[in-house]
Subunit: 147 residues, 2 copies
DNA sequence: ATACGTGCAAAGTGTTTGCGACAGT
DNA sequence: ACTGTCGCAAACACTTTGCACGTAT
């Protein structure tokens, strides 16, 4: 379980398991969301009214350093964090109407991407692939609206 | 020629061709670079010592609105602008060592991307594809360094 | 007891804007 | 002359950090 792994990581690094960290981890790690610091901070305040923004901020950095979260930034230029569930890599489609984020993975696309990098003798370490447009729901709404 | 097209655009919109705009356009539009506002501002100061940062900033916005430049943002989170040469679409590989940007286009990748979007009933309007890693030069340097 | 962590507020950074003076038409 | 534009400086919108106090170990 994620929480135990985290505890081990903290111990190994000589870091402490505070109530704040424990609660943040419990709240964050099993979600499937792309949180801004602000968003997570707002949710945490409900459970721990005194918690500080900086604590949430620093705990997210910690989770990234520990390999339990990923930092992302989409077109709105706000830093977001998502819990890393497996060692899965995925890319994103973002609806510019409702903000919905659809995750996808496509092996063929990944292979093709690696091929393109190789063709340019580029040693690819990471990549970013994002689609922006309308999700199914919003596109349907648009079509209806026009009638 | 680009400059004439711009003049026509300005006239059509009731906007003015100032010395600042003229010089910025001359300097920027034929380059093949991805400028931050600051970078272009520094270069423009050499030709027009009194020019203001805000003028460069607003002129770049104007060029984007007019369809003569594209706004981009890579991993360093600074807004960049590149002159739009044809109606070409391209994606980028960015060297995390030297900052070199390699542009590429791959029809197969684009088609595959559209297919993936379609599979998810996502109406794709724009996309971002960036590779980060080492360019050929920097990768070779790294290999030599290790010997 | 000893650091590490917290909450607050301040500082940092790049982006954007209000405004009075200036200049293209 | 009439506006649009300029340069400056201030405002913004986050993100990051310093510090005195609190707390896990
Ligand atoms: Mn991918
Ligand atoms: Mn995701
Ligand atoms: Mn593309
Ligand atoms: Mn480019």
């Amino acid at each position: 379980m994620k929480e135990q792994e985290l505890k081990d990581y903290l111990k190994e690094k000589g870091l402490r398991l505070t109530h704040q960290r424990e609660n943040i981890i419990k709240h964050f790690c099993d979600k499937n969301k792309h949180y801004t610091v602000e968003e997570l901070y707002e949710e945490m305040k409900k459970e721990m009214p005194g918690i500080g923004f900086a604590t949430v901020y620093r705990t997210l950095q910690l989770l990234v350093a520990a390999g339990f979260a990923l930092e992302r930034r989409f077109k709105d230029d706000v830093t977001r964090f998502e819990p890393l569930h497996k060692n899965d890599h995925h890319d994103h489609m973002i609806c510019i109407e409702c903000g919905r984020i659809i995750e996808f993975e496509n092996k063929k696309l990944e292979r093709l991407k690696d091929g393109v990098a190789k063709k340019h003798n580029f040693c690819i370490l990471l990549h970013k692939l994002e689609f922006y447009g309308y999700c199914e729901k919003c596109r349907n709404k648009k079509i209806k609206g026009k009638k």
